[in-house]
Symmetry: C2
């Protein structure tokens, strides 16, 4: 088991990464929990695969375990599911010493985290992410929330978990498409600030995608550490943390514009990163060779690297303006300056439309 510390004063916590950690969740939670009541929020797919192992680990450590099942899928990350979670938490009489456990991917983690942030004005929760995307990104840093019909994550809170338990072995049952989508965020950490990780991916991509556990642990650990360092400097995204949104301004818009049905988050982000790299090159921030490396690694990972021709750039940019990164009309765009560094650049919606309309 490897551990990354997230240092946020009284909101600090540990991220544990390793094979088979699900069976140790009880003992890890015992070190940080106050009360004995635990409610696990999960979905039917993950429940079938992993709830029993998690539950027996929690019970062995003396916890009383209940669960809430939510329907699977991004379209259910909404106020209705949240309301269903509240109803269960009330029914199970959770109090401020109780712990919520988010067992699942990003949808479960974001929603359960937001429920924890807002039930009784905040109860403790931990993340047990079961997708690569959740393991390297959404389970870390305390961004919680739900979607609004008009945009992704428009409702939410910054609320840190007490613990993140990452069992890399659960990726063995993850559908290949989701594994690949999760790689988009790993590639992102390489681009925005970790050239060594980017090199490691270039050299070992095939072994990683065939789930070599020591390599997976290394890659996930680096990703978590990269994210933790950014979150430590800017927990509430007043400035620096926005670099984690590299590729996401376009990616989020693409997901929203296509009704959250056509692309997985990572796939949309992959397209968004290539577009962001193209814009960075056009603005003179990123050299040709770095752009080529980014495009190539994304393609090799099996991720989409081109904007589909049927997407209307103008419609896409309209979805973008509601995003949290906009301010009084202009959009704060995250550009890369090669592999390993970024800079902000304010762009008008018109400039983005023009960039999206071209593949150069």
């Amino acid at each position: 088991m490897e551990t990354v510390a997230v240092n946020l004063g009284e909101r600090s916590y540990s991220i544990h990464v390793g094979a088979g950690l699900l069976a140790r969740t009880g003992e890890l939670l015992r070190q940080v929990a106050r009360g004995d009541k635990v409610t696990v929020v999960t979905n039917p797919t993950v429940e079938r695969l992993y709830f029993a192992a998690l539950e027996s680990s929690l019970k062995r450590s003396g916890f009383k375990v209940a669960s809430v099942l939510l329907p699977d899928g991004e379209q259910h990350k909404n106020l209705e599911s949240l309301s269903a979670v509240y109803d269960q938490l009330v029914r199970q009489r959770l109090d401020r010493q109780s712990t919520l456990v988010a067992l699942g991917g990003g949808v479960i983690g974001d929603l359960a985290g937001f429920a924890a942030a807002t039930f009784l004005r905040g109860i403790p929760y931990i993340q047990v992410p079961t997708t690569l995307l959740a393991q390297v990104d959404s389970s870390i840093g305390g961004k919680t929330g739900i979607n609004h019909a008009q945009g992704k994550n428009l409702i939410g809170a910054f609320y840190q978990p007490r613990l993140v338990v990452i069992d890399v072995s659960v990726l063995q049952t993850l559908p290949k498409r989701e594994l690949v989508a999760g790689m988009a965020e790993v590639v992102k950490y390489g681009i925005i600030g970790d050239p060594e990780l980017f090199d490691l991916l270039e050299k070992n991509l095939d072994a990683i995608l065939t789930l070599d556990e020591p390599l997976l642990t290394r890659v996930i650990l680096s990703s978590c550490a990269d994210k933790a360092r950014v979150v430590e400097q800017d927990e509430r995204e007043s400035d620096l943390r926005a670099i984690l949104n590299f590729g996401h301004t376009i990616g989020h818009a693409l997901e929203s514009f296509t009704g959250y049905e056509r692309f997985l988050h990572g796939e949309a982000v992959a397209i968004g990163m290539v577009k962001a790299a193209l814009i960075s090159r056009a603005q003179g921030f990123c050299d040709e060779r770095s752009l080529a490396r980014i495009r190539t690694l994304i393609s090799r990972a099996g991720l989409p690297a081109e904007m589909p021709p049927d997407i209307d750039p103008r419609g896409l940019v309209q979805s973008m303006e509601l995003d949290k990164k906009s301010s009084e009309g202009k959009i704060k765009f995250i550009c890369c300056t090669g592999v390993g560094a970024t800079r902000f650049h304010w762009l008008s919606p018109e400039e983005i439309v023009t960039a999206l309309a071209s593949n150069q």
Copy 2:
């Protein structure tokens, strides 16, 4: 204009109290706002009386003003109204530089504050409370939230406003019953830590209830300062802040048990305070004379001081256990040790049932 500072590091803010302050809201907000967009959340009654004055003040200071109207009443402080507010904020394209203004009583303040806490993971908001209850209590300290069908304020967040503007002149249009209900919280500050305020109330109750503005300003200012000092020491209610719930454990249960229809919040709290004082006397914490002073002042203010005989103590205590003050079965009860000080005491539900069944 008098000012109380709430010192909470980067979340610090000022409370301004005075006659006619509504007309100065724009200039006061200008000192703390970043962007120009403002959305005022209010209800039809308050809108008719005060929106025009507030709007013209905001516009004079260069703000672009929109509004959201919510139906009046505690029964609308729910997920449905919250959802309606989100829809409007999305439609009005508010961003993180925009400001929400809560113009109204506690329902508006709590709900608008929670919307601000959770829209885009947190946007700035200010409180412009128009009831005595909201002016001395709910607008200060950052407790925001909504009710769940099973209990009051079960869903919410700690989220501080950027400013509180208290115009004592608006109390001239407040229904007498609501004014009196608000006095319950003022009496509470006297009991829990401000014997001078309690004395002042005993000596000037009639002038205060007939809305002498200098006296009102003094009483409201003291109440706000008392609350600010407690919140500064324990923002998230880990311990000390719970003393502000003196009388509320029973008060909340009484409201919930009677479907939020029979008692105003302050009326329920008044009964709860007398009961808490009786329990404190029975436990040997509070002397007979202090108990008599508390009962007398509450009665003189026109507040109820007796538990109505038709309320079943056992049913009431069952409503209590879901409250946030319970932990693994026992209830952390706030007792008074005379006029001006409190102490905690853990009580079993049975002990409370027994105390409620007696008027001694």
